[in-house]
Symmetry: C2
Subunit: 449 residues, 2 copies
């Protein structure tokens, strides 16, 4: 509601060529709101607005823009304006922006930046996108260890507008080795003449530059940090990661896990603008692979078609057997995948967890087996069906629990993301084994009747 009112106000101001009003509206906007607003304006309206508003402010909302609006703006701004915007933006945001453009566009923009900044950005672009280096910013606050509290506070006053996070001060030596950290809270209450090295914490929670972004975010969450320093293998300070980026990482990784567990590729929603073909390409390959995999189940049934012709009622229980097995497997899987992602379940705890799962699985298997056995007996009126269905359910759920628990652990152990053990793959595997158990039991029992 409020957003619509705002858009209408801005459009009216443009119609009236009311520069004062526009300046006033934009001066009060938060970057995220400005990004949403700009997305709703036409090129004509932007043309009028851009020269009026502060480019510094536009710079801060640049990293919040959707792809379309960002491209419109990039084509729209003069090189002189772009220069101001790029030099205002934090280095991690510039690197993210350039990483999404073509090499040609990226080079053009780098030319507009100060030489030193451009070099820094190019370094950032060299790191893996999902590593600490890929999300860190190079605007941090570092002070030499022999400076005093007073000197540090003066430096902060001086450079605070150019720094993304001024609430942790990192202490380094001339070689840029990370020696310690002091929070602004401690600095404010410390004796002004003390040397920083006397009051710093020398045990610093830090990330190495190649660390996976999810691990970094988990560390920040564990230690309640507002920022974490990033160092190279020689403990030299390269940058910091701020907590807002950790929030984005945790949200992004959870989305990725959920999509992987549903066997679709990540970031569907941001791709919504890209038309339906991109949606088809992101889902169809998985569906086709899984379709072929599920034909294994068909082949199992085909192999036992004689037993099935003899007792057609065996087919009635196929959906329940495969469905319940799949559900039990997915439950076990979800717990392990999520546990590994949040760091709650590490390899040390694996055997303990597996042992617990086996017992939980055996108990649920027994109860579900009994229930379906009774249903089958009363529906079909024969002991044969009751026994076959019940036993098959029992063994299928136990298999499902084992498969759902161990496979993500194995995938994690092999160094891949356990969420790729996507639910559908596990359930397809459980389908095949469940049906094999079911029809084998049926065949054996039929021969002995």
């Amino acid at each position: 509601m409020e957003a619509e009112k705002l858009i209408a106000e801005v459009k009216a101001a443009v119609d009236n060529k009311d520069k004062v009003k526009i300046k006033e509206i934009f001066s009060q906007l938060y970057p995220a709101d400005m990004a949403e607003l700009v997305a709703e304006l036409s090129s004509q309206e932007l043309k009028f607005i851009i020269p009026v508003i502060s480019l510094e402010k536009l710079a801060f909302s640049f990293s919040e823009l959707d792809t379309n609006t960002r491209n419109v703006l990039l084509n729209f701004l003069t090189p002189q304006q772009l220069k101001v915007v790029l030099n205002e933006m934090y280095s991690d945001d510039v690197a993210d922006l350039l990483g999404e453009l073509t090499i040609g566009q990226s080079k053009e923009l780098l030319k507009l930046m100060k030489n030193k900044d451009a070099q820094q950005i190019q370094k950032l672009l060299g790191y893996d996108e999902e590593s600490a280096g890929g999300i860190m910013t190079t605007e941090y606050l570092a002070v030499k260890d022999d400076k005093t509290v007073e000197e540090a506070l003066n430096k902060i006053r001086e450079i605070s507008t150019k720094t993304e996070m001024i609430y942790y001060i990192y202490i380094i030596n001339p070689n840029k080795d990370l020696l310690g950290v002091i929070s602004m809270r401690e600095l404010l209450t410390a004796d002004a003449q003390k040397k920083l090295r006397e009051i710093m914490h020398s045990k610093v929670i830090k990330a190495t530059v190649n660390m996976d972004q999810e691990e970094v975010a988990n560390q920040m969450s564990k230690y309640d940090l507002l920022a974490i320093p990033v160092v190279n293998n020689h403990n030299q300070l390269l940058g910091i990661i701020t907590v807002d980026d950790a929030l984005d990482v945790i949200e992004e990784e959870a989305t990725e896990d959920i999509y992987k567990m549903a066997a679709t590729s990540e970031f569907e929603i941001t791709a919504a603008e890209e038309g339906i073909l991109s949606g088809v390409f992101k889902r169809l390959p998985w569906l086709i692979i899984l379709l072929f995999a599920s034909m294994l189940s068909g082949t199992v049934i085909g192999t036992f078609s004689e037993s099935l012709s003899e007792v057609v009622a065996l087919a009635f229980f196929i959906p329940t057997l495969t469905g319940t097995g799949g559900n039990a497997g997915t439950q076990s899987l979800a717990i392990v995948v999520r546990g590994i992602a949040t760091g709650d379940l590490d390899r040390d705890k694996m055997f303990h967890h597996l042992f617990r799962e086996v017992r939980v699985g055996a108990t649920t298997a027994l109860i579900c087996g009994l229930i379906i056995s009774l249903i089958a007996f009363f529906w079909q009126g024969t002991y044969f069906i009751g026994a076959v269905v019940g036993l098959a359910m029992f063994f299928t759920i136990i298999t499902a629990t084992l498969v759902g628990t161990t496979i993500p652990f194995i995938i994690d152990y092999l160094g891949a993301d356990p969420a790729v053990a996507a639910g559908p793959f596990i359930t397809t595997l459980i389908d095949v084994s469940g049906l094999f158990i079911y029809f084998s039991l049926a065949k054996v029992l039929l021969q002995h009747l």
Copy 2:
């Protein structure tokens, strides 16, 4: 590795009764690490350590302890020691702690606190656990609007150790109405004699006390906030929520969604200590409900058992048909559930999204239908099976896409969490409709052959 070394060191120091060493080790520990360490110590060891270490430090790690260790400590500390710990802890952590205890225990602990603090905690306990009020802390930094920058800085120096977040200063009037906010960064660089009301931002991003915690966390993520003020309906400041709690909320809600989508109850891993029965109770009810639901599919097959007896090969394609339908539905579902959770997909965008899904669904349905149709034809050598399986697949995938997209939207509209439209329920529904389509087609075509 490092953790194990640390535990060994502490245990050795206890054996040697080396108080100096223990003091030294604990003085360097972060709260989260201290919590992990304390969990590994025996009661005997704790008995020796507690009087040696600083209770203030123990207080900070209290909220990071697992349930077992926390209970051990609660029984272990003297009322005098507990008093120190409780008065050091932030109010949101105390409220979380008391919320997990019995009313009797909770009352005992409240008696140990200062009267004013105890009243505040009781108020916090009154809010819904998953609302802004339920996760906020009452230790914030508020200054009257007629104070100067210098006065504010002096106040911060004075009370900074008692406040969870000193990097945003909230500006209030004598009625405690929230008027504005100033960041520490701005305060440090502002003219010392200016009044706060002259330099504050009066457009404050804030949460109301009953707002859902997930919405609060999304707001903090959107605006990159380190803390968000919580107000009542009269805009009076009640507390703040810090970004570390937002991180926890986003992680917790993602876990909850993943578990719900896998049809198991939340927080399995924390319950790992509670023995297998709790695991069984959290999963079995869902499995049984779904088992009965899936019997609908069995009933559909049963209804068409004549057609099935005539062409047993129809059964071979049941797993592929239901499996692929379920996978397509889960893909659509995951995108909507996650989009609603992160706020990327709101109700305004629903029809646009549904329209896109229909087209994506129709395209994938066509291709999957053709593939399975060809497989069926070449395997079974009859046009009949090829046509029935292909058509059934086409209609099932379209149904699946529609069901997977609309049901979470409807559930959200009804005010419930769309993740309860758990994957398994959707897939069971898709199974039933897919099998009905399949066997109806088969019956009709069989009659006309």
